[in-house]
Subunit: 419 residues, 2 copies
Amino acid sequence: MATAAVLSIGTELTRGELVNSNATWLADALTNAGFAVIELISVPDHAAHIGSLLGRIGREYDVAVCTGGLGPTTDDITTACVARVLGVELERDEASLSAIRARFERFGRTMAASNEKQADFPRGATVLPNPKGTAPGFSVQIGRALSFFLPGVPREMTAMFEASVAPAIAGLVSDAQRQIILRTHGLSESQVNDRLAGIEADHGVTLGYRATFPVIEVKVQARDLDADSAERRARAAADVVRERLGPRIVFGEGDAAFAEALGKALRERGQRVACAESCTGGLLGELLTERGGASGFFAGSIVAYENRVKTELLGVPSELLESEGAVSRSVARAMAEGALRRLGVDLALSITGIAGPSGGTAEKPVGLVHYAAATEAGTTDKHFVFAGERDQIRLLAAFAAIALGLRVVQDGHPGPDSR
Amino acid sequence: MATAAVLSIGTELTRGELVNSNATWLADALTNAGFAVIELISVPDHAAHIGSLLGRIGREYDVAVCTGGLGPTTDDITTACVARVLGVELERDEASLSAIRARFERFGRTMAASNEKQADFPRGATVLPNPKGTAPGFSVQIGRALSFFLPGVPREMTAMFEASVAPAIAGLVSDAQRQIILRTHGLSESQVNDRLAGIEADHGVTLGYRATFPVIEVKVQARDLDADSAERRARAAADVVRERLGPRIVFGEGDAAFAEALGKALRERGQRVACAESCTGGLLGELLTERGGASGFFAGSIVAYENRVKTELLGVPSELLESEGAVSRSVARAMAEGALRRLGVDLALSITGIAGPSGGTAEKPVGLVHYAAATEAGTTDKHFVFAGERDQIRLLAAFAAIALGLRVVQDGHPGPDSR
């Protein structure tokens, strides 16, 4: 398999002043083009570090794509470093110089003397035009690696990759690859991993895991001689993953949001949902409206952070708040039932809990959350002590309430003993 | 100057599936600790690549900090690779195993068999406890490099760096440095940069910028012979930054949340806030309750996504909704005034807008948001067409409403001509 490396040059990266989204974009593009990307590396604008990096890359990889250090200022030294590694002179490209000058004139400005060096390239390099900015790029062969040098400005870099790099490297890969991402909720990464044991060997695929709290993604990656075969292989393995984990755990593919499954179930039934939130402060409604089209199933929420608001807007009896406390099974049920009535919906979800960091007691610790789902047919409640920081507890509580809502919409309320 | 490298292990990085914010965080932390960070490198979960990387790092740097590959799944192989490079066996640490098992039990779950290997370490390693998660880290000497291995989960990694790595490497650098982070909202990065021109030269500090949408952080970094001198130098420059940008722009230091300034202003006055939200779905209330202690100033919200809810729960006249449309100045004002009355608070904030991706028209494009702040003394409204994706528009709208609320609490409503 053809290998690739992504190089990023700039002291702002190694000082931690800028997240390197260029490297991620290039890694994704090269992976999709069929390359095994073996390293992403950032080094500062220092000649010695750039030089030793280029030498190493030329020994180890088939393709290298490098961004940064092509600008006009004194710390932009990438081109000079490449010439030194290759042992060739820099040569001015008059066509590029005219293009740079014309670009400045088009915007009513005069080219600064420092821009002239952006038309200098190592002798023998192929110049890559920059349709969206000043600095052209170039490609050269360094040892084994066909190497591309692009500016660090993201929109210039991506346009040049697609126009000049992608066509130049297409011939270097032979097989095709396909990836299916399954998004899961409800099991830990290790539980998911345990349940999927053996699938890699049985189906000739690679399984990868990625946690984007509180979602665990399972990535099913297949490689084959052509795209259709890779697709079939990935799909067959993904079907087994879905079967092993079940539909409660796998809630979608690709970039599906967790709340979309509930939204879809509601829309299919012509139903609408509302929320009654306390400790989540509005997060539950926010998740339900995260994607466009939420007006097809979401009516609104009453966020009753104060007890007074629980009573006045949700009709929770103040005696109940006093006798059971705001974080209790009865209050969660009364909140959901209040929202069902007040907002006139088919399903109401409620959350009341102790998100912390303070406010916990021995009996009701930080993380304790009561939540409920009410419909015309009845109310189901649950509770759990969620682990983590305040933001995690709130997110886990909102996800749990959505999961409960989905179950009630799909299966109705469980019997009295099956909480 | 002592040198450092940041290593990131994970195929999700080299496949371009995840932007590597860990590496940027560590580069920033190591730079602030006084190290010259010479490379940031990401490699996939492959033994050969990890092994050759560790060998090279041990020859080239004084300190290496590595994240990722300490999880329970089969693709987590960092620990085994370190043992192989050092030529030592893996040894199970019973104390760590008990801690992992206890952590599972505390949350009412049983430890999976695959978690056991998270208690295995190269013989001779120093175990680094993980107060926020399952996987402990460890440190070992690899060649010249004092090397630290941390989990890839950002909150666990940052906590362990501060607790275990920072103290261990502090002795390797000679001069002292101090950093003050000022958090700003309301100007672009280049506007902030322009306003702060000259401060670096005048005060002998370095200014860094970091965008965490929609907040721009200004990092004032000072280096001096001892900690007190560095502190004084950083503080003097930070004062100038505050003066140049003004108190509306600089809302806090360190990890201050934007809503905290409003919470503080309300608490100081013994006042309470409520919200009336439409397109933000609950985000405004969520931001106001993001940090603990929100019950000191936050009463609740009415999220009126449907027009019917705007009328029934907020008292927005249905004629107004028909004649002006839900996204209009009058409806934003009526929503805020409705929340003020219904929730009986001192300040009510409202948001109604078109977050997209669909729903825009030529007259009311995607991104148009009307928002208002109502008090007993009156109502002030504003509107803006925010740029970006749905999530960005919602976040910008919520920040704008909070900023308006802060202004009204501090200065009252502007005159009729000063909208």
